[in-house]
Symmetry: C2
DNA sequence: TGACATATTTGGAACGTTCCAATTAACTGT
DNA sequence: ACAGTTAATTGGAACGTTCCAAATATGTCA
């Protein structure tokens, strides 16, 4: 109707009390008399009043907004991460700025600046490749807690939530070895990320442990996407001695690898064992169901958000770093003979 | 460093000018002398000043924030939609609140309320099932433009951006008929949504047009997800006379249908033709590549955002509704004999 | 140089809240 | 009925900006 926003003083006037009283009602203070509380509450409804959080923030300089920036929303891992964050953030009465950096540090810088101007209370960041500690320094310096997820950011005064990439990769390769594979590839992911190098390290160490010599050709880097999986297989087909199994950088790559294998008339899980990483939601329902290292992105999002909330409420920035453990979920894509009990549901 | 935020008056003091001048510099006004502009700009950098958009909004009551709520971020269609929105919103210097309703109207109501309190300039809404016009009425009434996407919301004073579901479904079924199929199913999606009923209507009309009698059993509703596709196939296997092709509610369902078929030793694209809807990013790289009705979710997000921006800038809420056209992209999953020229890349 | 135009700068009020100190109202018990 | 509590209420300053009207500086022309 009216173009003009109704404010706290409008209700005050209508109710014949002072704006302070209305404010008290709004915050559910026990100081105010039951009768006046009712009268005011009624008016609040009738006049279609909407609380102006911006004005409140201005006064108390603490907002109910958290920022989250991911590098690729299109990747279900990050989408689920965001959903996990949203769940806890939303039920704490906060609202989230979500932005997408598309792996661009510039863009990331921009959105972080923008979020800062808008007064976020905290930030969850999955840093784009090439992010420097200095990109988040101003945040941390002004007392805004930051939780970095997925990749780490050495030297920055932030909390970090990583998955145990090394151990996960190691256990996956061990499993393949146990199934009798000797020619095992690592497919997908860029060489220059910490996540990738951790996983490759786990892969290497597991091979060494099993007494299998490392074949450098078998480490096939490519984009960490479904398309990247396809190209990795294409490159593999040129080898004279082909691998019989692959640990993939992530589930997206693993799906792409399955696609690529089929295009070469190899049935994933039969002629070739495939293991993914992340356990995104489709891993369970795909055919063949994907054996993968479960990272539970949604849970990770939740934990990150809880960590952040803790710091926001405590009003201090911590620097703890959590490594969440990870477990191999054996399904069909690695040629597992039987279903695991957990998968019966 | 310091716990206290530096404000416009701090720089003013440091520069020996008034806060008004600093404000002018901030907005790039031509009114200020080049020399003072430089001095002030330098100080702004040195003192680590950060603009307080909240305070500015308070004064001019127009923010640089748009809200977007989708029902399922986990679904790549919506994730891509959000990315499309983010692109234009971000380059217009805005920032987006993104929330996830999980198809819950209550949750949706909450987040909309929360966004309103935080002073969004506009809202893009993909309504949860069961959303009423009254859920957005307060927004529209207070002059905040709303663009509803994907599903429509009759009776609400909003703009709407839909894809031509009817025509898309019709052309998909026509294609199947042309390939010689007579027993064509429609799989996935809930019966009670407008999107679903439009697509089913297109499916029906195309059958009628081809003189094929409608078999009610062949309309198999299920969740609009990958898992829903699997269950649809399971239900289908019970039929004595099975379909030979299916138009699916969306791509997620179509992938699930492919999974389900494989689990029954039917090769999608060979023994059974599958067509999806949406053309999500994986449709192209999947094996078999998915024939699908292309909706271009990212483009749709961009268009929605542009529509919204236009209204925000004009300062008025319009009520136009756009139906974006849609086209069938023929790939392998329907048993197409040849590649289309456009797919050669 | 004086008068006028133009370029630059500037105080304050306003936006909608919260919070504090202070006031007023409503009860006690004697 | 009075001091002493306790319960409710309240004005005003403050938060960091924008915007307006007004002031001041600078320049121009005769």
């Amino acid at each position: 109707m009216s173009k003009i926003r109704t404010s706290i003083v409008d209700i005050a006037r209508a109710a014949g009390v002072s704006k302070s009283t209305v404010s008290l009602v709004l915050q559910g203070s026990p100081l105010v008399n039951e009768k006046t509380r009712e009268k005011v509450s009624a008016l609040i409804n009738d006049l279609g009043y909407v609380y102006n959080r911006g004005a409140a923030n201005l006064r108390q300089s603490k907002s109910k907004i958290v920022g989250i920036v991911v590098n690729d929303l299109t990747n279900s891992f990050f989408a689920e991460l965001a959903v996990g964050v949203d769940m806890v953030v939303q039920s704490a009465g906060y609202v989230q700025f979500l932005a997408h950096s598309g792996e661009s540090v510039d863009r990331q810088r921009q959105v972080i600046a923008s979020m800062r101007e808008n007064g976020i209370a905290g930030l969850i960041l999955s840093p784009a490749r090439g992010t420097e500690a200095s990109d988040v320094k101003p945040l941390a310096d002004s007392g805004i807690p930051v939780v970095v997820v997925v990749r780490n950011l050495p030297g920055a005064k932030v909390s970090t939530l990583l998955s145990d990439n090394y151990a996960g990769a190691k256990s996956a390769v061990r499993h393949l070895v146990k199934l009798g594979h000797r020619r095992i590839a690592f497919m997908g992911g860029f060489a220059d990320t910490a996540v990738s190098s951790d996983r490759v390290r786990g892969y290497r160490d597991a091979l060494t442990e099993a007494g299998i010599p490392l074949n450098q050709n078998f480490i096939i880097h490519s984009a960490p996407s479904r398309a990247g999986g396809v190209t990795a297989v294409e490159r593999m087909t040129a080898f004279t001695e082909r691998p019989t199994a692959a640990l993939c950088f992530n589930d997206a790559v693993a799906f792409g690898v399955c696609d690529g294998l089929r295009a070469n008339n190899i049935e994933p899980g039969k002629g070739f064992a495939v293991i993914g990483f992340d356990d995104v939601i489709e891993a369970k329902t795909a055919v063949p169901a994907l054996t993968t290292v479960s990272v539970d992105p949604q849970g990770m999002g939740q934990r990150a958000a809880q960590l952040l909330m803790k710091q926001i409420n405590a009003g201090q920035v911590d620097q703890e770093t959590l490594v969440t453990s990870v477990r191999l979920v054996v399904r069909q894509s690695c040629g597992a003979p039987v279903k695991q009990p957990e998968e019966l549901a």
